[in-house]
Every structure is written in structure tokens, then in C-alpha cells.
């Protein structure tokens, strides 16, 4: 991570409003040709990412919405999967969405050459179903919770997220530790530096207040996280517990579709490989007395976990999408900490850090080798 540079920005008209002003200014100066930013949908009951070219439409922007309907990395990927394009684009998302975007860039699923990724201190996100039960009320509750730094109403994985201010992109809006009516603009790259410079802002302010506030929150969350994981492990650990945990799973694969990391054109578990002739199923039923049909639900869950765990950013999109309220995000996020820990890898931390699966180390993981070797 490069040396962070910061500037204090006056935000008397409000954080959201100031961000929009800065984006408008950036477009006016030609720093960006377009912006990908959340906006409220016409019906007012949800938010969607919008790719804006017409600067006059920017005033509708809603950075840091109370819900994450679509994981931002998916939105970005749909624009630049097939190439970087000619437009210079600014994208404003939550840290886990920026991280997922970087993971996708490593896996050739999105091109961020011409993008400036901007993140913002994240207070968490409301579960989609809670929001939908009463959108207006939920918005008010969210704003209150943000003011009080209270995360009880957020997604379960948000409540134990220790990376809610992790900077992986080019720029970051630091609201924590900032004096009233101000926020920090923090730059993490040369690209970020250039953008801020062209906006006429000098990156020479002290970021200690932000660092300290973030450190405090992150450490507290980390403790919570460790405890939550310990409890969860005992609840779902072991094959019997696992099968029971996923017994309600109806194989709708919503989790897979909502996940930014699951990018396969045709999932292994939707492919011909899991389509067997009737004799095979009957034989299995005969040997066990009866089998659930279709079988192999836990296999799908564990298989998906194995395929994407190294890149999981613990965003929680999967859990929100699950129609059977299975705590998928909590389980997958817990295991992701461990798989990534094995390789000292943090998903989305850096574009230059290759995904562990593609790296060969001669000396590695000796602890799992045969003791007699």
C-alpha cells in the first residue's frame, strides 16, 4: 500500500452533496468523461448503479445508499469486461465493492485502466428484505445509525467487518475522524493524486485523526469478528452440522449469481457434469434407502466455497439474495478469512498481488504434507 496523502475538504452542504459537487466539477474540467454512481430508481423502492455521461444528471446521484442491491463490482464489470473503452470513468462504491472490482480485474473480468476507483468509509448496509419492508422508514433508520456509528441494523457480515475503511482503489472519502462539516479526501495512487490535483485540492493535510478513528473501529470489529467466527464454527462445523445448515437450500443458486466473484459463464454445478442418468440416482437411492432429490446440495455449497473463497470480500450479497435465509455470507466469509490467511492474502488488496491459485511456490504449506516425507 502506497503512502496515503490526504486533504481536508469543506462539506458544509453535506457529505453527499459535496461529493456530487466534486464529481460535477471533475466532469466540467474533463477529468472524467463519465461516472458510475448509485441512484434511486423511479419507483423509489431501490437503488441501482447508473453510468452517467450527461453531467446534468449527476445531481440525482446517491453515493453510499442504505442498501447494496447489486454488488458494485458486477456493475463495473458489465461495462468494461470486454475492454477498457475510451472514456475516463470515476466509480464510487463501498470498500468491499472496490476490492471485488480489483479481484475481477486480476481475473480478466473487468478492465480498470481508465477507471478511478473511489471508496468511502462504510457504516455497513441494510439487509435488502428489511429495507423493502418499509423503504422510507429504513432510510431514516440508516441515517440515524450512521450518525451514531451503530451497526445493529446492518447485514450480519457488516456488523463484524474489520475492513470497512480499507483503501484498495485510487481515492477514498474519509468521513471518520473528520471535523464537523468536513471530510478527508485520501489518495492511494498516482492516478488519485492527479485527479485531486486537477481539482485544485492540495494533498498536504494530516490524516492522523482519520487513521486513529479507523484503527479504533477496526480493532473493535476485529475482536467481534473473531468471537462470531468461533461461535459460528461450532454451530456449522462437521459434516452433520453442514448438511443440516444447508437442508433448506433449494439450489436456486441466487447466492452464486449475486456474488461478484462467481463469474463463470456456466457454473460447474449447472453444467452437464452434475446431470446424471436415472440409473445413477436410483442406485444411490437403493444403497442409502432414499436420497434427497436433487442430491448434492452440500457439494454445491462446498464446491462454490472452494472455487471463490480465496477472493471472497465478505460483502454479504449472497446472504441477502438467499430466499431461505441461510447465513451463507457469514459461513463463507468465515472460511475465506482462513483460506486467505493460509497465503497471507487479502482479496482485493492490490492489483499486483496475483490470486494464490495461480502462484507456484516451491516451499509452501508443509504443514499439510505427509509427516513421513
Amino acid at each position: 500500500m502506497s503512502e496515503l496523502k490526504g486533504a481536508v475538504v469543506s462539506a458544509r452542504s453535506g457529505t453527499k452533496e459535496t461529493i456530487i459537487e466534486l464529481l460535477e466539477k471533475a466532469m466540467d474540467k474533463g477529468i472524467f468523461d463519465g461516472v458510475i454512481v448509485p441512484m434511486k430508481v423511479p419507483a423509489g423502492d431501490s437503488f441501482a448503479y447508473v453510468f452517467v455521461k450527461d453531467r446534468s444528471l449527476l445531481k440525482e446521484s446517491f453515493p453510499l445508499p442504505p442498501v447494496m442491491f447489486v454488488q458494485g463490482a458486477k456493475a463495473v464489470s458489465s461495462v468494461t469486461r470486454l475492454g477498457e473503452g475510451n472514456m475516463k470513468i470515476a466509480v464510487i462504491m463501498r470498500p468491499c465493492e472496490v476490492r471485488a472490482t480489483i479481484e475481477l480485474a486480476k481475473l480478466n473480468q473487468t478492465n480498470i485502466e481508465n477507471m478511478t476507483l473511489i471508496s468511502i468509509d462504510c457504516p455497513g448496509v441494510l439487509p435488502t428484505s428489511d429495507f423493502l419492508s418499509n423503504p422510507e422508514k429504513s432510510m431514516k433508520q440508516f441515517d440515524e445509525a450512521v450518525k451514531k456509528l451503530d451497526d445493529k441494523i446492518m447485514r450480519p457480515v457488516c456488523q463484524i467487518c474489520d475492513k470497512s475503511s480499507m483503501i484498495a482503489g485510487d481515492l477514498h472519502i474519509g468521513t471518520l475522524g473528520a471535523k464537523k462539516d468536513t471530510f478527508f479526501i485520501i489518495s492511494n495512487s498516482q492516478k488519485g493524486n492527479n485527479v485531486v490535483e486537477k481539482l485544485g485540492i492540495k494533498l498536504k493535510d494530516n490524516l492522523d485523526n482519520w487513521h486513529n478513528k479507523v484503527k479504533g473501529i477496526s480493532e473493535e470489529k476485529h475482536k467481534k469478528r473473531k468471537k462470531a467466527h468461533k461461535d459460528l464454527k461450532s454451530e456449522v462445523g462437521g459434516i452433520d452440522n453442514l448438511v443440516e445448515t444447508f437442508s433448506h437450500c433449494i439450489n436456486c443458486h441466487n447466492c452464486m449469481k449475486a456474488c461478484p466473484i462467481c463469474f463463470c459463464r456456466l457454473c460447474y454445478f449447472d453444467s452437464d457434469k452434475v446431470k446424471h442418468p436415472s440409473e445413477d440416482y436410483l442406485e444411490r437411492a437403493e444403497s442409502k434407502g432414499s436420497i434427497r432429490f436433487l442430491p448434492d446440495t452440500t457439494l454445491f455449497q462446498m464446491g462454490r466455497m472452494m472455487h471463490m473463497s480465496h477472493s471472497c470480500v465478505s460483502c454479504g450479497a449472497c446472504e441477502d439474495a438467499c430466499p431461505m435465509s441461510i447465513p451463507v455470507a457469514q459461513i463463507f466469509s468465515m472460511i475465506a478469512d482462513e483460506t486467505q490467511g493460509l497465503f497471507d492474502y487479502i482479496s482485493g488488496r492490490s492489483l499486483d498481488e496475483p490470486v494464490p491459485l495461480t502462484v507456484y511456490e516451491e516451499e509452501e504449506l508443509h504443514e499439510v504434507e505427509d509427516a513421513n516425507d
Binding site: 470486454l82 473480468q109 463469474f263 463463470c264 456456466l266 453444467s271 457434469k273 495461480t358
Partner: protein, 561 residues
């Protein structure tokens, strides 16, 4: 298509018939649905046995064949030929190894019979899902790439360059000849080296079949024996990259000296008049041996075994050339006092002993040490050493020559990576087998000669180069076709999402990326069917012919039922 599977069980003399109840096996297998025939035979690999199988296939109209016999390593090819002769695709065959993996590992006939049945069922389960595969034949390229224009590379090039093949000789520096061009004479014969090397260089330059590239380096090598695609770092006159195809590669990247700066006790680089063997050879070639102040030395110490402890091996040539140095000195400065300090003396070979004794006769002192170091003593040097009995002694001399260990050329690792071969723990290129295959590597078609393979003298180098050339000439014959691997990977264009994970894990460079379609594509000629890509592809877009998911799944299913 209606399947007609024939199962044939080999008695293998007493090997299988005594350990497995074959009749019981036949009973158990006959009841399986699409099995047309189950029979036993005394010895299926015999001429009669093969004829029997061929006739059976034709008579029974079989579509698939299962042979329960010995290891596929022994006879898979045999039975594949039988299939071909009987006009069924040789890949519609599956062997069940009921000898090495069954009859030979247990005395319990009951267990062996049960296992044999299970193994045959598994083979049947698999063969049902086999698809016919076609063998490919491609022309092999008889040309050869030689990397390194020293004496090893030159010799190999000369041996190889005959009428039907071309040799591409790549040399990193601007001139040919390598290390030996620095030497005045060779040890043993004490003849001028230029007699040999200059002629060889001239021969190489005159040979129409040898294309020489100096100041050149290889950038990329992909492919396999008979079909390597080479790209050089250099560009031609039009600025296009230089590339060509060859069938084999000879690595002759040579040696460099261990840097005595890495061993502080010698004072090299700190104290004047301490020079390395190579520096001495160069000085000697000018005709004048002198100290830093321009005067000839009155006494010289030649220190053997420099760097031997650090490198952990004996460099073979230094004792002999150190004796040669003694001769150089005595020839040019008759009054000079020469002392050779050695810890062990390495003088193998039929004439080396004589050379040693004759050198000693020239009044050269040979002093054995258990430890040695050099310190400054005003304008002179103190050679401080412990003798055989451990007594500390010291000798005052004007000049010290450090006979340093040899090591592989500095960019040998880079070349190894580009070419795709391994290095041993001393960083020399790894031979296929130390004793019985010292010129080949584990990669077919890539040979290592000269110092690149290990420390050796000129005559051993010439022998090795000729050996490599011999191997290439006999195995890479112009006109002889090569059959690339049939069981290769295939990536489904519809399902590949272009994440390039397969490309990162392919050890053979066999997968390229189609930028237009944004999918990975396998080069079926270069692919070796290792399966890394299949394992790494999360969506299963990659699969290996003859090792499809269903084939393995069905085999496993039957094996564990």
C-alpha cells in the same frame, strides 16, 4: 449406437490364473447388461493371443474392448494395435490391471477375485463413455538450436550441420569461442589452444548450414521435441522479431568463475597482486606476467580449491590448470619461485599423473594445506596456512593466483526458465540421469553439453557435444513423423469466461488467449495433457480427452460400489 463390449481376461501363465478365480470373475461379469462376451485366454500378449483378440472383435462385432491383464505400461500399446488391426478405434479400449494391482499383491485368492471383479466393472464403467480419438502426425523439424557459442556449442554445431539440417547458433557476446579463447595453451599437451579453437570457429563460419547470431539471446521457447518455436530477443533489419522452428535444442551456456570476493580470507579486491585464474590466463596470453608495479614477480603462490567449500563440489579442472600455470611461470620467468597450495590433488586420467610429476620436476613446490588465507605484508603477501599436521605456517610471496571454482554462467537460470528445464542444486542444468543419461534432460529434445552441465575439461566437453549431436542425429531424422499427444486438453469456447487461470498454471505454454473472442485456446500439438488447466478451471470449461469427467466418475462409481 448399440454398445457391444467384449471382456477378455488373461491368465498370464500362472501369474493371474493361480491367484484369481477367473471362472468366478467370468460369472460375475457375464451378467452385466451390455457385455457381449467374457472369455479367458492363456496369454493375450502372445502372437496367438493377439490374433485371438483380433478375430474375436471381428467375429463378435465388438464396439468396445476391455482387457483384464497386466499393467497398461506393459501392454496398452499392444492391445491398442490389436484394436487398430481389427478396425476399431484404439481408444475404445480399457485395461484392468489385475496382475500388478491385484494378483501380485495378495495371497488371499478370495480377496483377489473380489478385487478383480471390481476392477473389471470399473473398466467397463469407464469404457462405456470412451470416445474414438484420432492420432495426429506432424512433420518433425530436423533443425537444431544451439545456445552458446563457446567450444561446446561450436563442436555440437559442427557435428550436427550436415546436408539435411540447419543449425542456429546463438551467442550472447559479439564473438565466438567462449572461455577457451583466453587461454594460451591447454594443459597436458601444452599446445597453443588457438590451433584448435581458431580452426573450429572458422569452420563454423564457413559452414553454410550454420546460421550464427551474435549479440543475441533467446526470448521464448514453446513446443516440444520435433516442434519447438523459437523467438529471439533481437529484431531483424526491418525491426521484426526473429523467430524460427527447430526440432531440438542444445544448451551450451558454459561457465563462469566463483568470485573470490565472496570469501574474505583471500583478500581478493582488497590487496594488490592477488588475481583470479582467468585474470592470470589473460595476463599470460599477453606474453608478460607482471605485478601491479610492472615488475615481474619473484615468487608466486597458486592457491587451489578457492571456493570449493562454499560451492560444495570439486571443479575438476583447477588442479590441472594450476599445474599448467606453474609451467607458464617457469617458461616465462625461469627464476621465479612457484608454490602450489592444494587441499586435495585432483589428477585423474591416464596422462595427468605424468604431467604432475613433470611439473614437480621443474622445481615447483606442492604444499598441502588444511586451511589457507592471504594477508598483506608491506608490498608482498603472506600466504598463511595450516599444514597437514595442523601446524600454522606462512610463506611470503610477491603474487597470488586464486584458482577459483567454476559455476554455471550468470544467466543460466534465465535460460533454464525460458527453455523449461530444471537446474540441479548447484544451479547447473539438470541431466536426465547422472550416470546413464548425462547429456539429455528430463524434457525430450533438450540436451546439455559442456560446462553448462557440470565442470569439465576441453576433451570431455568435445565428447559431450559429439554425444548430444549423436543423439539428435539418430532421433530427429528428417522425414520421420512425430505423433503428438492425443489425450490433450480442450477448452469449450461457449463456456470459457476468459479468466486466464488455465494459462497461469500451464507448464508448457500450450494455452493462448484469443483477444477477439476473449477465450482461452489450447494448442493441441504442444499440450501434453497434464490436466493442470482442467483442475484449475472453476467452471469446467476445460476438459481432457480420454479423461472426461464422466469417464472418471463412472469408473470410480463402479470401483467403490
Amino acid at each position: 449406437m448399440e454398445r457391444k463390449i467384449g471382456v477378455y481376461i488373461c491368465e498370464c501363465g500362472p501369474n493371474i490364473s493361480e491367484k484369481v478365480d477367473i471362472d468366478k470373475v467370468i460369472d460375475a461379469i457375464s451378467s452385466i447388461e451390455d457385455i457381449s462376451v467374457v472369455e479367458k485366454y492363456k496369454l493375450l500378449c502372445s502372437a496367438d493371443g493377439k490374433k485371438f483378440l483380433e478375430e474375436q472383435i471381428k467375429k463378435q462385432g465388438l464396439t468396445h474392448l476391455v482387457v483384464a491383464a497386466c499393467s497398461p505400461k506393459e501392454h496398452e500399446k499392444t492391445f491398442m494395435e490389436v484394436c487398430e488391426n481389427a478396425d476399431i478405434n484404439p481408444y475404445l479400449l480399457q485395461l484392468a490391471n489385475i496382475r500388478e494391482q491385484c494378483a501380485w499383491i495378495t495371497e488371499d485368492k478370495d480377496e483377489a477375485t473380489k478385487k478383480a471383479i471390481r476392477m473389471i466393472r470399473a473398466a467397463i464403467g469407464r469404457v462405456r463413455y470412451h470416445s474414438p480419438l484420432d492420432k495426429k502426425e506432424i512433420e518433425s523439424n530436423p533443425d537444431v538450436l544451439v545456445i552458446g557459442g563457446g567450444i561446446a556449442g561450436i563442436e555440437a554445431s559442427l557435428q550436427l550441420a550436415n546436408t539435411d539440417r540447419k543449425v542456429y547458433l546463438i551467442e550472447k557476446t559479439s564473438s565466438l569461442g567462449g572461455l577457451v579463447t583466453n587461454f594460451e595453451k591447454n594443459f597436458l599437451g601444452m599446445k597453443p589452444i588457438s590451433d584448435t579453437i581458431d580452426k573450429k570457429i572458422q569452420d563454423v563460419k564457413n559452414n553454410k548450414n550454420i546460421k550464427i547470431f551474435t549479440d543475441a539471446e533467446v526470448e521464448e521457447v514453446i513446443g516440444f521435441f520435433g516442434n519447438f518455436e523459437i523467438k529471439l530477443k533481437n529484431s531483424d533489419e526491418e525491426g521484426d522479431p526473429i523467430g524460427f522452428n527447430v526440432g531440438a535444442i542444445v544448451l551450451a551456456t558454459g561457465l563462469t568463475l566463483f568470485d573470490p570476493k565472496n570469501s574474505l580470507k583471500y583478500g581478493y579486491g582488497e590487496i594488490d597482486n592477488i588475481i583470479t585464474s582467468l585474470e592470470f590466463e589473460k595476463m599470460n596470453k599477453t606474453g608478460k606476467i607482471s605485478l601491479k608495479n610492472g615488475k615481474p614477480p619473484r615468487s608466486v603462490a597458486i592457491i587451489h580449491c578457492v571456493g570449493r567449500d562454499e560451492k560444495g563440489y570439486c571443479s575438476e579442472i583447477c588442479c590441472m590448470y594450476s599445474l599448467k600455470f606453474a609451467r607458464y611461470l617457469k617458461d616465462k620467468i625461469p627464476q621465479v619461485k612457484v608454490s602450489n597450495f592444494y587441499s586435495d590433488l585432483c589428477i585423474p586420467g591416464k596422462t595427468h599423473q605424468k604431467f604432475y610429476e613433470q611439473t614437480k620436476e621443474k622445481n615447483v613446490d606442492l604444499i598441502r594445506f588444511t586451511d589457507v588465507g592471504i594477508t598483506k605484508n608491506k608490498d608482498q603477501l603472506n600466504i598463511n596456512y595450516k599444514d597437514e599436521n595442523g601446524n600454522k605456517k606462512s610463506l611470503l610471496v610477491d603474487m597470488a593466483i586464486l584458482s577459483s571454482a567454476v559455476e554455471p554462467a550468470t544467466d543460466a537460470s534465465k535460460v533454464a526458465e525460458i527453455v523449461g528445464i530444471s537446474q540441479d542444486e548447484k544451479s547447473f542444468f539438470a541431466e536426465a540421469h547422472e550416470k546413464i543419461n548425462p547429456v539429455s534432460t528430463s524434457t525430450e529434445g533438450i540436451y546439455i553439453v559442456g560446462g553448462a552441465q557440470g565442470p569439465k575439461d576441453i576433451s570431455s566437453t568435445l565428447i559431450q557435444s559429439e554425444a548430444a549431436a549423436g543423439k539428435i542425429l539418430s532421433s530427429l531424422v528428417p522425414g520421420r513423423k512425430i505423433e503428438p499427444e492425443v489425450k490433450v486438453s480442450h477448452i469449450s469456447e461457449s463456456f470459457c469466461i476468459g479468466c486466464k487461470t488455465c494459462i497461469s498454471v500451464c507448464s508448457y505454454g500450450a494455452i493462448t488467449f484469443d483477444e477477439a473472442k476473449k477465450v482461452s485456446v489450447v494448442n493441441e500439438v504442444i499440450c501434453r495433457g497434464c490436466g493442470n488447466c482442467v483442475a484449475a478451471c472453476p467452471s469446467g470449461a476445460a476438459s481432457i480427452k480420454h479423461f472426461k469427467f464422466n469417464q472418471i466418475y463412472q469408473e470410480l462409481k463402479e470401483a467403490v460400489k
